[in-house]
Symmetry: C2
Subunit: 456 residues, 2 copies
């Protein structure tokens, strides 16, 4: 039975038990699930059921309930907790790692958030609080401050003993080694400890050249390092090279997913943090500004058409085919743009190879323009019975698709040079350009060759 199939069965049972009010059975069922599976089940429940299931479970197995909530994402977790008192929330949050705590506290309503933060600070020092002081999307924000590290003066035997008595530390596959002032000086893999005699000083077997990131390093850079060097974790240091935290590969996977979503969203004009079930009002607020910007550019394109009203009134067939020119330019530009933006994100495009990329895209644009233009010419001829109209359509499409391809390459690269996220702004510029240029070339050529088009 596949994982998905199994979860569907669990989901159905949860719904049934909720309906029946069979709390004891419900808790029994929920307790048997992995937190990630529970999160999946929660996300499939309607909001009221999800809250009810969470409330039941949290009384009986606080850790599991909180872990599942955390897996759902910090926003959803904050929502599940938001009806409770600050004291209650602070108490429940203790079940989680401090990086997860910080993420959730961030999403609570403002008053509650600061009250909870005060309580947590009183209770367990300021791990969570200090995490929240780092800028969003930095290593400091996503790291776990609870990192297992050893003094360089220990022997291998002492290190193994320390490891045996350590509880609840994340990722003890790499052991980081510090000097007397907590400076990160080396790393030893757990496996290496097994290969040498217990009296060996740690200093002798550690790798001194340890990769690390700074607290202010962008999370995308962290992800890139972990991915390209195939690391399982990377230590985080402050400006004095003191070890302050660890970022593990599972956090990096979340970052990679979020960044991919962000790129995808930005190309479509959607805010990076929007999800399927973001409330309608919020989604509207997030999407409308981008639509209004597009509306403004659409009016720009419309005013180009307006310049040619005289021509259109003489040959209305031009109005029939003008959306084809603009639309096909837009499609070709989107293809180019997507390849280029992803190439930038994956680090495949650098300054040195820009010319090569431009040349390639220009060629592809020209080829696509020739092919599509020719097909469209025959289509228009068949539909309208006028070969001259077909020729004008083909020529306009070739021009516009060539422009689309070169602009689709240059605009994201230019935006990157200006330190603007190419995924964010490129598509608006490109749409405007292909619309304006499409109408201009088609209606312009139509005006020039007007006398050949009259014979309809």
């Amino acid at each position: 039975m596949g994982v998905q199939r199994k979860l569907d069965v669990v989901l159905d049972s949860v719904k049934r038990l909720l309906r029946m009010g069979a709390t004891a059975n419900l808790v029994n069922l929920l307790q048997k699930q992995h937190p990630a599976d529970l999160a999946q089940v929660f996300s499939d429940l309607v909001e009221r059921d999800r809250q009810a299931a969470f409330d039941v479970l949290v009384e009986r197995n606080t850790r599991l309930a909180m872990e599942a909530a955390s897996e759902l994402g910090p926003e959803a977790a904050a929502h599940l907790l938001s009806d409770r008192s600050a004291e209650d929330i602070a108490h429940l949050l203790q079940e989680l790692e401090s990086d997860d705590q910080a993420a959730i506290v961030d999403y609570l309503p403002d008053d509650l958030s600061s009250a909870v933060r005060d309580l947590i600070r009183k209770k367990e020092g300021d791990d969570v609080d200090s995490l929240l002081e780092y800028a969003e999307q930095t290593a400091g924000r996503i790291m776990n401050p609870n990192v297992f590290a050893l003094s360089e003066d220990l022997t291998v035997g002492e290190s193994i003993a320390a490891l045996q008595s350590a509880r609840d530390v994340e990722m003890v596959f790499y052991l980081y080694v510090m000097d007397g002032r907590r400076h990160l000086v080396g790393v030893v893999s757990l496996r290496r400890l097994l290969l040498v005699s217990p009296e060996t000083p740690l200093k002798r077997i550690m790798t001194a050249d340890v990769m690390s990131v700074r607290v202010e390093t962008d999370q995308e850079e962290v992800a890139r390092m972990v991915a390209s060097y195939n690391l399982l974790a990377i230590p985080v240091v402050d400006e004095e090279n003191k070890l302050v935290g660890i970022i593990t590969v599972d956090d990096v996977i979340d970052v990679i997913k979020d960044e991919a979503t962000e790129d995808l969203y930005r190309l479509a004009g959607v805010a990076g943090d929007e999800r399927v079930f973001t409330p309608a009002g919020e989604s509207l607020k997030k999407r409308l500004p981008w639509l209004v910007v597009n509306l403004a550019t659409a009016f720009l394109a419309a005013s180009v058409v307006k310049l040619f009203e005289g021509t259109i009134s003489q040959v209305t067939a031009l109005a029939v085919f003008m959306p084809i020119v603009a639309g096909m330019g837009g499609n070709a530009a989107t293809q180019t743009l997507t390849v280029i933006v992803r190439g930038i994100a994956l680090g495949e495009l650098s300054w040195s190879n820009t010319k090569k990329a431009l040349l390639k895209e220009a060629l592809v644009g020209l080829g696509n323009g020739l092919a599509c233009g020719t097909i469209a010419a025959f289509g228009a001829w068949a539909l309208q019975g006028n070969p001259a109209l077909g020729a004008v359509l083909a020529l306009a499409m070739i021009i516009n698709m060539f422009v689309a391809a070169t602009a689709g390459t240059l605009i994201p690269l230019a935006l990157r040079a200006l330190k603007i996220d190419p995924a964010l702004a490129s598509s608006v510029f490109i749409t405007t350009l292909t619309d304006v240029f499409g109408f201009l070339s088609f209606l312009g050529l139509g005006t020039v060759f007007l006398r050949y088009l009259h014979v309809v």
Copy 2:
């Protein structure tokens, strides 16, 4: 000095040394780099320089050269090797893990590929060959068959001794436990071995409930499991539950990146395996079919406009504003579509919550339509001096943006139900729909209220 900055310096030096023909210095410099960094440097070099640098390095440090080539991606690696003899390639490939070997062999020209495969089979058994027998994008294809596993009859002490003598095995952080017939029966973490006495039987401390995937499991499903259960590796078993390989988290990261690229590309009508420097001819062949499909749908939309040629000839202002209705519908639909497609990919959307998503998107579509329609109405009034035209524009936009939002939700969900990738086909359907519906509603309303529009 940041990583990128450092690599730029290395890149400049490599170029200089290549120009000077200073082979010894070049090898010295290259040898100091991490394979991932070398791959980055290689990718920034023009093709001739890349080949020259690789050829120099491969003579002196075969492993590093091959690892860097492999990091560049199997296609690029195959290209770097393609001028060599089959014997030579088979020899060089030995430096790599068999999953990486298989990926590269796959991209060699056909003749060379089968010759190399024969040679490898003779040399080191059929690990590589059997990997190639699994379907693409399955666990079997991306797994490493070289997995470290122990017999359940061993003690902890014997296991540690086995571990100490094992060389070159991937990821020995989890130790998989097999019965006498290689059936996967349990897992022990390396850390756990350290916590118990050497005489303890492995059987007693292993976790019997070990998560695994089958060779034919889709790589996306593998990635989802590793990510949601925060695993560092997952064992791969055959149909008899015999352990045949391991997939590590670094492979999973590659899968996640590739799948994100694929989704992004499919929404834009680009083939998943296209990269920035795919040759122009190949790119053209990959992109043109999608453009031709779009061209056909554009003609469909054009024939809707053609129905209203009579109306347009009386009020040419309709031709000015009709692209706005279609375009804004398209923009709104793209936003919805992106959120829904990503929601499906991230597993946030299931059957049970579809209605909720639809309701939300319909509301957002209506809200966006009202807002944008109102703005556009005033814009058209100002531009054209006719309030009735503004009203018709607003009404058409509200209708079209509402349709766009509901269709943007339903179409990807319907495609998923039909087992068609929603990212692949949704955007064509949506564009057609918003164009056809946009023209139909605007020009239709224009025809109905024609007598109010004449007063220009």
